[in-house]
Amino acid sequence: MNIKKTALYELHKNHNAKFVEFAGYSMPIQYSEGIVKEHNITRSKSGIFDVSHMGQLFIKFSEDITSKLQEILPTDLKNLKINQSKYSFLMKENGGIYDDLIITRMKDQYMIILNAACKENDLQIIRNKLNDQSLEINNDLSLVAIQGPESKSILENVISNISKLKFMNGENFSFENNEIYITRSGYTGEDGFEISLPNKVVNSFVGELISKGSTLIGLGARDTLRLEAGLCLYGHDINENTSPVEANLKWAISKNRIDDNFTGSQKIKKQIEEGVSKLRVGIKPETRVIARESTKIFDEKDNEIGKVTSGTFGPSVNASIAMGYISNSHSKTDTKVFLEVRGKKVPANVCDLPFYKKSYVKGEANV
């Protein structure tokens, strides 16, 4: 299979990117600054992320489409306002998650942003549900995120009036006479924006952001940033065998949909009423040792009680951090647990998420 490249590939190369294959794409893992510096630049100033490998699916709006989408997403789409975005899940029959996604109600259509590794499978599920085999991911568009405290003023210098956007809301703007769509959202725990725009202008757009003071950031720092912010990475922290309830993402299921029918809804309802046996939690080792994915978790009596799904060193919290699933009886904050790393049991504590306090610019309540 040919490895795919985004429209920004040459620009990454010219900025000394180190590339890694991710979901069939050659993507920058880091640039010459390195992961920790890139992480810190995003937290203190502004960083640019090429996320064009993610799938952008546009579906013409109608009430019938809304009803059908509600059969596979646990989100109240009927009350979704024009230009409002929601975090949601493409649900599996067993209550598991085929993908996590952001759905935005644009004026005449829905925009759904899908994970790169899942997008082809997602597309087929959505095609089948909507009975429309002509639906396609839009590959003429790039997706760029700009994140961090200075991003608003930098982006405002390139596109006027973006400051008025509220968190999880979007709008149409224009760049070099091309229509583009910007939402105030992201995956770093910082204030920021995601910009969907034609491939033919993306190099010029990113070049402008760099000249106004933002910096290219690779997937390596994207991972440390999102983990500090307590955000899930599909395929690791959530998958086809974890439900949104087990993943501690119940907030993303609209309250008026809990008693409604959607794929997996019976399982979800049962879990909400009766509780779950395992739960996703934050875990903080007491030393700097890193507990990577699949690290086994034990209780004080040496019983295995769970597994780590993501772990790294968090530069902004200056500590080793992890997330994982743990038996419900041990999921309370401050519960002492032990992580088996290289044959040794490392003491750790269950902790609240996020590790790093978010600084989103909130509008109205979004949940």
Partner: protein
Amino acid sequence: MSDTKFSKEHEWITLDGEVGTIGITKHATEMLGDIVFAELPEKGSNVEKDGTAGVVESTKAASDVYTPVSGEVVEINQSIVDDPSKINADPEGGAWFFKLKLKDKSELDTLMNKGEYDKFAKETSA
């Protein structure tokens, strides 16, 4: 430092009398990226040539540190455990890992000199 020797696992060693000082090469740190964790062998323990004698972790992955020669650990550099970023900053100087009382000096003959190592590093990272 023309008397520095290098291993294929990207460690360096310098000898002062019976005691060798061991660290990882600049090339190794460039491949690893930002190092955020280091674990060293215990003082007083014995390590065998090419055996593991520590761990370094970057934000991306964990890597074992091997000892290029056998001996007894007589000193460890606690400052790199407390602040692992020192390893990226000065890998072939202040950020040495541990000192060994060598068991068999002839083991040094199996290692590469600077010129040989630079060539080896260039070829294997291409």
